[in-house]
């Protein structure tokens, strides 16, 4: 599939404002900071988690524990997609038992990535609650999963794709919609 006609739906300024808003929402929902841990899904979710950690530090002055999750080994299509996908680092250097885990990803689509992430999180312990934070919700869910904190709802067609680009991996901040030809 090749994509053309990119349309920018979030600018770098938009993304910045959204991340501040989402950080405030996370804090509003769980005022007890000691309960919160951040988990970013590789790779762009991890970048976003890192930014949210910085923003919360700026607002509240304390640094929340931050982990990264690679969900590849928990995918439901692992033997169907071939060749074997790359497995990136999973790093959770803290106890998640009894914590409020804020799971962070860039785009929420079918919900299958989140299902895999939830399974992986449960292998690390039993959090009090897991909340989902996404920059973009583009719809088309295939599983009963919803986000608690949404940056922007962007209704899309099946043949469109939403791509989030971040400084850390793509040299600029933006979200675009592209249509398959």
């Amino acid at each position: 599939m090749t994509f053309s006609e990119e349309k920018i739906v979030l600018s770098s300024q938009d993304i910045k404002r959204i991340l501040y808003r989402l950080s405030h929402q996370v804090l509003e929902k769980t005022p007890n900071l000691e309960k919160i841990v951040l988990l970013g899904i590789q790779t762009r979710g991890a970048h976003l988690a890192c930014r949210i950690q910085k923003i919360i530090k700026e607002i509240e002055g304390s640094q929340l524990p931050l982990g990264v999750l690679d969900i590849t080994l928990y995918r439901d299509d692992l033997t169907a997609i071939g060749p074997s996908p790359l497995v990136k680092e999973t790093k959770i250097n803290f106890d998640i038992n009894g914590k409020v885990v804020v799971l962070i990803d860039d785009v929420l689509f079918t919900g299958r990535t989140i299902r895999a992430a939830l399974d992986e999180i449960m292998d690390f312990g039993r959090p009090e609650r897991v909340e989902l934070l996404v920059l973009v919700d583009r719809g088309h869910r295939e599983l009963p999963i919803r986000a608690d904190f949404v940056g922007k709802n962007i209704p899309t067609a099946e043949n469109e794709s939403v791509e989030v680009r971040l400084q850390e991996s793509d040299a600029k901040d933006e979200a675009v919609i592209a249509r398959a030809e």
Binding site: D70, L73, Y74, I81, S84, E89
Partner: protein, 310 residues
């Protein structure tokens, strides 16, 4: 993107550099799984893996078995001593019979060379070589390279010295192929009776003088004196061997300060390595075992999650 299109893992000889790098980079991620409280991921759930050891092994077999279990595969061990081979069944018939159980991966150790690719014709499963006679032991070389990369930061431009019974050593052969692909130079050092000239043809330099060869080495791989494979005598006595080819504190002093020592295990202390060097060299050798598990998980993952041709 990472490169991988192999169905089997039979020989490092047939690997290219990118494929080795793929395995090593995956192993880095897999190492973390063994440090978790729940040491299991569902990647190979529902896959059947048979550990087929026609020749004795404890650590390689255990390491493969654990690797398979940590990836959620079902593993069955099959060893020669308790198998129908002792009742006269041929290896090919055994493989054909086992195919009836529809295994996904066969991990095979066998004492003769050049037969794994033949066995592959009698099964639809992927085959991973866990040591085939004097030929190759690919996962051992991969874990050695992984350990060297962790310790040295690179696999390029190193002087690798392999000391001991290279004649009987599939580990030596696999390592020569592997390290050479990264532009490292491999020297093998042993009594002349234990180094066939063939090793020059596969890219290694030959030395009979450990005191000289050790000076330039960045990586020293000590091999076990394989008494069970000495069909006839290759050196006059163990004492003479130790005198000339063991790693002693005196010799180790002549090596580079940052040189590292590896050993595929099990070690006979005071045969190939002086026990007085234990404190210094044992930690990294134990790390090899830890890394071996991660490498084997990576190997199983790569052949186990290939898209199946229907």
């Amino acid at each position: 993107m990472e490169k991988w299109d192999k169905k089997h893992i039979l020989e490092i000889k047939e690997f290219d550099r990118e494929e080795i790098e793929t395995v090593l980079s995956l192993a880095t991620s897999f190492k973390e799984i063994s440090q978790r409280d729940v040491k299991k991921v569902p990647a190979l759930r529902g896959k059947t893996i048979l550990n087929l050891f026609f020749e004795n092994s404890t650590r390689t077999r255990t390491s493969f078995e654990l690797a398979a279990k940590r990836l959620s595969a079902d593993v069955v061990n099959f060893s020669a001593s308790s198998s129908s081979l002792t009742k006269g069944e041929t290896i090919i018939d055994t493989i054909k019979t086992l195919q009836a159980y529809h295994p996904d991966i066969l991990i095979v150790r066998i004492n003769s060379s050049a037969s794994l690719s033949t066995l592959a014709k009698y099964t639809q499963a992927s085959i991973i070589n866990a040591g085939d006679g004097k030929n190759e032991h690919p996962t051992q070389a991969l874990l050695d390279m992984f350990t060297v990369k962790e310790a040295k930061g690179t696999l390029e431009g190193l002087n690798v010295l392999i000391v001991g019974d290279v004649f009987h050593s599939r580990v030596a052969r696999s390592n020569i192929f592997g390290f050479s692909k990264f532009g490292s130079k491999v020297t093998v050092c042993a009594p002349p009776t234990l180094v066939p000239y063939e090793f020059e043809k596969i890219g290694a330099k030959i030395s009979y003088d450990l005191d000289d060869a050790i000076k330039k080495a960045d990586v020293i791989i000590m091999l076990r004196v394989q008494t069970e494979r000495q069909e006839s005598s290759f050196f006059p006595s163990l004492r003479e061997y130790v005198d000339k080819f063991a790693l002693t504190p005196q010799r180790f002093k002549n090596a580079k300060k940052e040189a590292i020592v590896l050993h595929p295990g099990p070690i006979n202390w005071d045969a190939e390595i002086s026990s007085s060097l234990k404190e210094e060299v044992h930690p990294l050798i134990l790390k090899q075992a830890e890394n071996g598990l991660a490498i084997r998980m990576a190997a199983l993952y790569l052949v186990g999650t290939r898209k199946r041709a229907l």
